[in-house]
Amino acid sequence: MERLSERPALDVSALPTVVFGPRNPVWLGTILFMLIEGSMIAMVWACYFYYRTRTSDWPPGVLPPNLTWGVANGIVFILSLGPAWWIRRKARAGDLLGCRIWLSVLALFGLVNIILRGFEFANLNCRWSANAYASTIWVLMGVHSGHLLTDFIETVVLAALAFTDRVDGTRFTDFDENSMYWYFVVGIALVTNFVVYGASRLF
């Protein structure tokens, strides 16, 4: 378009540089990553039920995982939605103090989740090498623990960042999207818990 004549112009100098939600490409990127990880773990769920159809006694030869820690972790996950929601609210308002507080709270929740996840692993009632069922629930838990760790670390980093002087508008959008990703982690966690603890008893 480098024609050497004068041209009418479309002036965009007034447009914002800090936008939240769907208007922000990073939001789109986050959604796409959720799709990737979502379809990944959905495949593992599918594998679980595929194996279910291949045998009559379920879980084969072992006890289903103990409920206690799974349920406890599920509850903590649900509660953790609170701080995540507050972070979004504060971030969109550009309230740095609020973000600092709630990011730290969310990080704490994440920590509790991880500790409880440890107990969950200890109470699966099988080694991963016992049989296909065992391998599957270990991988289910493993994949999700991966999500959990990732987003926990991200939250910690963001919280730390929030206490530095490197916070500009983009960071607030990051806080915002981090919470969205946390919602996703919680959602996956609840379904996964249902598969691991529920399906082994119900179906």
Partner: protein, 650 residues
């Protein structure tokens, strides 16, 4: 909807701007400068550099895979040949298949062309998430090196490109060969997924004002559909290969029939990726054909809407046909009929595309410039492949020719026809843009005819071999079978193809020096990449364009508005609305950085380590975390800069 018709642009009436002044371009040059030199190489983030790297690397592996194929053809040239022997032969055909699919086809057709062309075609200054794009290249490169060094160390995968369990399981594949294969999958799919995110975001958010969805050139539609296909298909194969890896390294029981494991599950997972992957390889071809046909018939493509719809529906149906790779496993009749139907259904959108191209050629004013030869080749070759596919779709016929050389012939006609012929067309079409010089046509003809004749000699004979009962993946065959002479012909053809590719390489290096200067728009084509100098500067567009039709340059009004108000002293890009392409916001495009490289190194450590011991993850994951944090951690200067100028949306 013309740009002036939409509210946001209405403001843009009188102010007329002078043509780009020299100092403006200087400022852009400074802002978008890419570091040079050896260490600079590790920090580049501009899509042209990354795209070029993908193209070059993928082409190198295309050549390597081809060389393996020639060695295999030598082994098969006569019965009971002892040139390679089973062990080497198994490694070679596995490496050949895996290389061509994972290290060549997807990286070149989807990632290379996509990363290079998409930002230019949408009319922006850089790809979305450039550092992620850079990362996707490094991780791909390390995957390639890892895989091929494996072959040099006699650890080349040797269980076929789909490594069926239980043959690929711990019990029947000792050593690390299959683990290398499985981890190579993880490398390349990580890379493909990262690219998919970048491309989808670029197409949906960075389009020039006025480029609404219904004005996107076909190649953008194709890359968009492809990105989503990658996002939904690749996880399946990453999962199946990871399960295989776990079975082999830590003793999980996913595929152990004695412990409730299941060998068919592996095939389901693999082909749920594997078949869409065929379309991931073939759709870029169709988009290239559309582009070339449009340009050389000097008219808008006929049936744009039909083409868009068929591209999308191929994307969907492609996920519903995977079981036709498993007809011989004896699944229930009902299911098989369903998948036959689905497989035949996918013929319809493909046919629509063919008919539209032919219609365009008839109604257009075809100028048979050089790249069109490859389009002709594509028509001829891909038709044959598609029709033999029709035969394979029918269960009874498939149970006969499945896993014979008939199938080998079929998918080489489909993949070489659907990907390699368009690829050469694309290279002859776009290399002038990328390197600023035209390719030599005389050498080009040699390239085409050698490749075309050799190809048909090699693979048409394979139809007969298959019908005469020669199965795939045999390192030799008994003389009584009388397959010798057909195989010999095929071998000769393979070497002609090799010669053809060699001519292309010579042509490339010759044209780099002696080629005619291309200029901005040698083909007088329609899309935006032809509005920037060749090769493009790192800011792509001195003046950000607006768009007034599907072929931006052809449909531009005499005084098509340009975009002003995007800063030229820092790396700022314009974000537009996903549907209508209205200007919506502006954001900074990341500066060059070495962090993607370090992150790729760290993750390579993690992947390679986990091949040898699962425990190693405990410590190899630490550098990954560190590098990723380093990648994310904002620079103080940039932060202050942004703070000073940022505008919050209300």
């Amino acid at each position: 909807m013309t740009p002036s018709s939409n509210p946001k642009m209405a403001v843009a009436e009188p102010p007329v701007v002078p043509p780009p002044t020299a100092d403006r371009q200087l400022r852009l040059q400074r802002a978008w400068k890419e570091p040079t030199g050896f260490f600079g190489w590790f920090t580049k983030v501009h899509h042209t550099s990354i795209g070029t790297r993908f193209l070059v690397t993928a082409f190198i592996f295309f050549v390597l895979g081809g060389l393996l194929a020639m060695l295999m053809r030598l082994q098969l040239a006569r019965p009971e040949n002892r040139f390679l022997g089973p062990d080497k032969y198994n490694q070679f055909f596995t490496m050949h298949g895996s290389t061509m699919i994972f290290l060549f086809a997807v990286p070149l057709m989807f990632q290379g062309l996509g990363i290079y062309l998409v930002p230019l075609i949408v009319g922006t200054r850089n790809i979305a998430f450039p550092r992620l794009a850079a990362f996707s290249y490094y991780i791909y490169l390390f995957g390639c090196v890892f895989f091929w060094v494996g072959l040099l160390l006699n650890t080349g995968a040797d269980r076929g490109w789909f490594a069926y369990v239980t043959l690929s399981g711990p019990d029947f594949s000792p050593g690390k060969r299959v683990d290398f294969w499985a981890q190579m999958i993880t490398f390349t799919e990580t890379s493909a997924l990262a690219t998919a995110v970048c491309l989808a975001a670029t197409i949906l958010k960075h389009r020039a004002p006025g480029m609404s969805l219904n004005r996107m050139p076909m190649i953008l539609w194709e890359k968009l559909v492809l990105s989503f296909m990658v996002i939904f298909a690749m996880p399946a194969v990453m999962l199946s290969s990871s399960m295989l890896l776990l079975d082999r390294t830590v003793g999980t029981q996913f595929f152990n029939p004695a412990e409730g494991g299941d060998v068919l599950l592996y095939q389901h997972l693999f082909w749920f990726f594997g078949h869409p992957d065929v379309y991931i390889i073939f759709l870029p071809g169709t988009a290239i054909i559309t582009t070339l046909v449009t340009c050389f018939t000097r008219r808008h493509i006929f049936g744009y809407l039909a083409l868009v719809v068929s591209t999308i529906s191929i994307g969907f149906i492609g996920f519903g046909v995977w079981v036709h790779h498993m007809f011989a496993t004896g699944l229930p009749q009902m299911g098989e009929s369903f998948f036959t139907a689905a497989t035949l259904m996918i013929v319809i959108p493909t046919a629509v595309q063919f008919f539209c191209w032919i219609a365009t050629i008839w109604e257009g004013r075809l100028q048979f410039k050089f790249p069109m030869w490859w389009v002709a080749g594509f028509f001829f070759v891909f038709m044959i492949g598609g029709l033999s596919g029709l035969m394979l779709a029918s269960v009874p016929v498939d149970t006969q020719v499945h896993d014979t050389f008939f199938v080998v012939a079929h998918f080489h006609y489909v993949l070489i026809g659907g990907a390699v012929f368009p690829m050469f067309g694309a290279l002859y079409f776009w290399i002038p843009k990328m390197m600023g010089r035209m390719m030599n046509e005389k050498l080009g003809y040699w390239n085409f005819w050698l490749f075309f004749i050799g190809f048909n000699m090699t693979f048409f004979t394979m139809h007969f071999l298959g019908l005469r009962g020669m199965t795939r993946r045999v390192y030799t065959y008994l003389p009584e079978m009388n397959w010798g002479w057909l195989n010999f012909v095929a071998t000769i053809g393979a070497f002609l193809m090799g010669a053809g590719v060699l001519v292309f390489i010579i042509n490339f290096f010759w044209s780099r020096v002696h080629g005619r200067i291309a200029g901005t728009d040698p083909w007088k084509a329609g899309s935006l990449e032809w509005a920037v100098p060749s090769p493009p500067p790192h800011y792509n567009f001195a003046e950000l364009p607006t768009v007034n039709g599907r072929e931006a340059l052809w449909d531009a009004e005499p005084n098509q508005p340009i975009v002003t108000g995007v800063r030229d002293d820092i790396r700022e890009v314009l974000i537009t609305d996903s549907l209508d392409g209205d200007p919506d916001s502006k954001m900074d495009s990341p500066e060059p950085s070495a962090w993607p490289f370090w992150a790729a190194i760290a993750i390579t450590g993690l992947f390679v380590g986990s091949v040898f011991s699962a425990k190693s993850v405990e410590y190899t994951s630490i550098p990954v975390i560190i590098t990723l944090i380093g990648w994310y951690w904002p620079k103080w200067r940039e932060t202050q800069q942004r703070k000073a100028t940022e505008v919050w949306s209300d």
